[in-house]
Point group: C2
Chain length 366, copies 2
């Protein structure tokens, strides 16, 4: 790992106050995705592990890619265990891994481990803190979990550089994760590491120049890179809530205001994704698709298809077009429907075209 | 994948004449290492595959990392089958994968598939052609295998950018490999892709400006990037052979001269690694280590410890120091040895310190 990048990562965490780095080892990866796999390997391949593959669980709704990554190579080391809420290990002693995503993807909620605290041996934890930055959510405390994953993608938006990092407490786990990176990709692009280091240095310099290190609050913090991002996100959420308010089909989660130590303000989270809920009986992503909006449906997140995930971090013109499209959607009980199926509803899109849905599909009425 | 990179890759192959690209799909990866794993996944996860993990074999001596990569996650899709020369599938119908590395790492030999041609269904092939560039070996024909792996690391030396590519004939295999890259790393650093594209464009421009496309031969080709690299490599091999000639411990493989279509000359291969053979009864890497040279011993390549792999592509000063150190090694039958063990030999290093070896270890006599 490039020393400049390690220094920049530690410096940004210290300034933002979202994670402890003292006493932690930093492991760099080609994005945080592969570091998740490195962590699975590190936690499941130790000699203390029994013959059974370790179950990997996550409370639903969970990031759809975890399951895909866990199952990809049909490993004998670990296997997907599904929703942590319903996970039940009879003897409460089998080793397992719980992934805790906080703020959560897709629904933006702040999460604590569920299963890990219920069983005797506690299980192993991987905390995916990709979205725990003041652009999205109030920073209430520096987190200090065993394995914490972060990514440049969500911190500054430079997804194309494929740079993620893990803060790891245990040196043996960090070494195993590094060894996984070594074997699978030999290393992480130096070009990207150096660029990421420079980006994070600029972000850190910006924070310090606006308010001086550790002296944030109010207007000063609002003018930092994170503060400006937060304003954009908050503005989009306001527009989205406005668009949804006017219709009788969709609902959105409500987030309580919290005090953000970095910003010196109380504010509501403005997550990177909207977790849109539909009226009972609707397939939310099919409904969106019928209105020319591509989203990821609830079932891919281990949840009901009444939900779908919409991106809040696309380009401005995309977001505006999206708002336009969903604003026109509303629901009408069509009494005069010829087929007369129970519970059938007609959705009118912006152009006055009527569509209908009955939970699993949508088709043109006319 | 960035279109500039794809174009540059196809252009360089066309100019060098080492691989066909027409009708091939290009899959980019974070180095060719992960593309090897992507190929394993693509070949072993198709629905036609039986319940048994597919064996992955490679003729010894083989690149030590293949085994490590195959075994890392204890996949149910594939497993390491060892040396292709001794691989014996009784019913000759079980699907398997043979990795063909040509020129071979560690010993620089030109390779053809072995097992794949012996059995009924032929098996699946992955060709690792990382070293098939005119800096190392005569380019005798454009290769046209099903899956061919290349890497910037060995082509131009830019290992730190972590850019590799696969040329893949079958579209379904290419799609599966891309999907593997998508799931494990989401994508490949754009920073690195754009830099690699520029590097390959410069290399291609250089070749064309020296001799005009497809008009190579003799002096013109010698002044290209590849020609200059070849001169460095050939010079190092000459020095190495000189250093080894004077001592009675080591031997090196001999390579026949071949006509290189790119260079318009006959020349001997000058591989990126030297595959050093020791006198019977010696542990080659232990012997080198005792003389302060770190090498990778034969056993890690599925071969005897009489062999060890030395790098020919380090920095100039490192290479010179290495030559200095091995030049001083010679072997003496020490009749007056007090312990009088049979076959014992004393190795004198540069400083006149005597060391001895008996096949598995070396220790100070005095």
């Amino acid at each position: 790992m490039e020393p400049e990048l390690q220094d920049a990562i530690r410096r940004v965490h210290l300034i933002v106050g979202n994670a402890r780095t003292e006493g932690y080892h930093v492991v760099v990866g080609t994005g945080s995705t592969i570091l998740f796999q490195a962590a699975l390997y590190a936690l499941s391949s130790s000699s203390a592990v029994v013959a059974q593959p370790m179950k990997v669980v996550c409370a639903a709704p969970y990031y759809s890619q975890y399951k895909e990554q866990v199952e990809l190579l049909q490993s004998r080391l670990y296997e997907w265990g599904g929703d942590a809420n319903t996970y039940d290990d009879e003897d409460k002693t089998a080793p397992f891994i719980e992934v805790v995503t906080s703020p959560n993807n897709p629904d933006g909620s702040l999460r604590e481990a569920t299963v890990a605290n219920k069983t005797e041996n506690g299980g192993k934890l991987i905390h995916d803190l990709a979205y725990y930055w003041p652009n999205y959510t109030p920073i209430t405390r520096p987190e200090d979990h065993d394995i914490m994953l972060f990514t440049l993608t969500k911190c500054t938006g430079h997804a194309g550089s494929r740079i993620g990092w893990a803060l790891v407490k245990d040196v043996a786990v960090a070494q195993k994760m590094t060894s996984f990176m070594q074997i699978t990709t030999i290393g992480v692009s130096k070009d990207s590491q150096l660029r990421a280091a420079r980006i994070l240095q600029v972000v850190a310099d910006d924070c310090e120049s606006k308010a001086g290190a550790f002296g944030y609050g109010g207007d000063d913090a609002d003018r930092t890179f994170f503060g400006e991002c937060r304003k954009v996100m908050a503005g989009r959420w306001e527009k989205l809530r406005e668009a949804v308010k006017g219709n009788d089909v969709f609902g959105l989660p409500k987030y309580p205001k919290r005090y953000c130590n970095f910003s010196g303000r109380y504010f509501q989270p403005a997550p990177a994704f909207g977790w849109l809920e539909c009226k009972e009986g609707y397939d939310a992503s099919a409904l969106m698709k019928a209105n020319n909006v591509l989203t990821r449906g609830g079932d891919t997140f281990g949840a009901s298809n009444r939900y779908t995930r919409i991106s809040m971090i696309g380009r401005e013109e995309e977001f505006d077009r999206f708002l336009e499209r969903i604003s026109g959607i509303h629901c009408v009980n069509e009494d005069e429907d010829k087929e007369g199926e129970e519970g059938l509803v007609v959705i009118h899109d912006n152009n006055g075209n009527a569509r209908r849905g009955n939970g699993n599909f949508l088709h043109e009425v006319k």
